[in-house]
Structures are given as C-alpha cells and as structure tokens.
Amino acid sequence: MSDFNIDDKVDITDVVCPTTFVKAKVALEELDDGQILSIRLNDGEPVQNVPRSIKEEGHQILKLLDNEDGTYELIVKKVGD
C-alpha cells in the first residue's frame, strides 16, 4: 500500500449488497477531487461488483490488493467534487 498516499479508509465488510456500494459512495463523497480512498471489502459478490459500480460513478480505480484473509483493499481516486 506504500505506493499510494491514502487520504481515508472505509470498511464495507460489515454490510451486504447494495449497502456495500452505498457505504463506499458516502465515504467518497467526503473526499475532495483527487484524494484517495482505501475500501476494505469482502471476497465474493462485493469484490465482483463494487469496483464496477465505482467505475460507473466516474471514479478511478488504482489497485486491488489481496489482504489474504478473505478481504481486499480497493484503492480509489475520487474524480469530481
């Protein structure tokens, strides 16, 4: 994770679809254009769908890191205010 200067973190492993995306979206709304959010998400449906939903919102995905405990960190750059 040292490649990225993380501005904020959100953990969405405690919720299920569609709240996963909503929680991530709310966290992104708190940030300014260009800031970077790290999203902790579960394997399975969240990792299959949340990156695509974030892309469709117009944000930029930088990396998906495997925490090797059944969770991932999705590193997203906020695009737009």
Binding site: N49, P51, K63
Partner: protein, 286 residues
C-alpha cells in the same frame, strides 16, 4: 353471420369463454409502448372492453371483452394511436426483448433495435406452427432466451490490451467463470471457460480490453406443454449480418421441414440434429 375464428385469431382476436367476446392481443415489439399508444389502449379498453388490460407472459397487451360487432371500430380506434393488433396461431409471434445496453448497465447489445429489425423481417410470417424469438442483452438472461424457438443473447468477446492495463486485478475478481488468470502482470483468458458475459471489461478501470459485441444463439426452446432448453450450435456470432443469415436459415429449415403443429425442437429431433447443424453452419460460413 358466421364468425371466422381462424381469421380473427390470426388478427390477434382471441376467443373468450364468454360467447361473442374476444381478448384482443396487440402488436408490441421488445416490450416497449409509447405514452400515446398506452393512452389509446386505455381509451379503447374503457370504451369497448371492461376498462382493464391483461399483460401477457410474452410482453404483449390484451384487451379482454371486445364484442364481435365492435371489431372494426376497435381496430380503427387503435390505429389512431399507432396501435396494431398482434397475432396468434401458426406464425412468428411477438419478438420479446429486455431493455438491453441502451438502458441497462449489464447489457451487451442493443436488444430493442434488434427486436425492431426482427419484427420488420419476420413478424406474423406464416409457418407450420408458432415460432418465438426472444432477445436478452446479457448472461443475466432476464428475458430467458433459451425458452424461445430462437433465443438471442448478447455477449462480449474480449482480448487483453496490455498497454492500457494497470495490473489492478479487478477483472480476475469480476469474472465469475474463473476464466482469468494473472501471472507476472500478464493476463490470460481461458476461452473454454469464458462465457462472454463482459464483466471483466465492464469492471476494468482503464478499459484495457478490445471487445466485440455479439450474439449467442439457441435453437429449439420450449416452455409450454413440454419443456426444453434451446441449444447453441455456434459459441459466438460476431456480427449482425451473420446473425440474420442464421435466423433466416433456421426459419427456412422450420418452414420447409416442420409438420403442421410441430414445434421447432421436434422438427430438429425428427429431421436430425446433425442435419440442422449443417444448415446453420453453412449459413454461418457463407
């Protein structure tokens, strides 16, 4: 005056249990109706029917309780709102479609445009038995392609664009088929596992995929008295011209070989699947 039920049925008038009452089936393409059409349908249902409509299982609309003496007036009234009667009986039926890529984020093809094109090409064509086309935009299969005589499903064939890839790994997780493996930042797609769902491409942050939007076509589906899942012959059809050639070939095969009241699946079974496959492959390779 004797009522010619066959002619009325062909024109979408379905005989009801109640004597001299007909449920009028309307022509709908791909499940879309305009506001103008809906207003006219409401008006006709109120004036000539019993003030309600029935939504059929295949995206059509029927206006029940139309009286036999009103049939011409009903047709004229509907025409003012760009509404035509549909069909029943041994011919090409309503072309059904989901909303497809014009509306739905999952869609891989423009299902409505294709439904219009198939409707122009085939609707109400006389055949030995009913013949149903259904078009679904993607592997989610909301429109249940394989229950139709010819089912068309949108798909996306992908190939990796290495130069645009940031190696994020999202595609491998988005793939539900386990078709993508990443080794030393190189992506490979197992073509035996890929089902053309397009999720890798849709999830990719940098659109690092070359894509072909195409069609997966199944034949011989049934979902009535007998149930059969339509089967695919060609894994992926890359362009619409080829798709139309294949649809032409399938419908010609049915027209030429089917016995009256024999559904497509049973024609294929009786004439021999290998013979049908030969016809489809010839159209594909033409």
């Amino acid at each position: 005056m004797a009522v010619n039920y066959a002619v009325l049925k062909k024109g979408g008038f379905m005989r009801q249990k109640q004597k001299n009452n007909f449920s009028l089936r309307l022509r709908v393409v791909g499940g879309n109706l305009t506001a103008v059409q809906l207003a006219k349908i409401a008006e006709v249902a109120d004036k000539f029917g019993e003030g309600y409509v029935h939504l059929t299982s295949r995206q059509s609309v029927e206006i029940p309780f139309i009286k036999v003496d009103d049939i011409d007036d009903v047709k004229n009234a509907l025409a003012e709102g760009d509404v035509e009667p549909g069909v029943c009986g041994p011919r090409v039926r309503t072309i059904t479609a989901c909303q497809g890529e014009a509306i739905c984020p999952s869609g891989c093809i423009d299902t409505y445009a294709l439904a219009k094109e198939l409707d122009d090409r085939y609707f109400a064509r006389e055949l030995p038995h009913k013949f149903k086309f259904g078009i679904t935009g993607c592997q989610n299969n909301c429109l249940k392609a394989e229950e139709n005589d010819v089912g068309i499903k949108g798909g996306i064939k992908v190939s990796w664009k290495e130069d645009d890839c940031i190696g994020c790994g999202v595609c491998a997780k988005a793939c539900r088929q386990g078709a993508i493996t990443i080794t030393d930042k190189k992506i490979s797609v197992d073509s035996d596992k890929c089902n053309f769902c397009g999720r890798c491409y849709k999830a990719c942050p940098t659109d690092a995929w070359n894509t072909v939007h195409g069609y997966i076509v199944s034949f011989g589906g049934l979902f009535g008295n007998q149930i059969n899942k339509g089967e695919t012959i060609i894994p992926f059809i890359e362009d619409k011209e080829t798709l139309l050639r294949i649809c032409d070939a399938a419908i010609e095969f049915f027209d030429k070989n089917a016995k009256p009241s024999e559904r497509f699946k049973f024609t294929i079974d009786r004439v021999g699947r290998e013979n049908f496959e030969k016809v489809i492959l010839e159209a594909y390779n033409e």
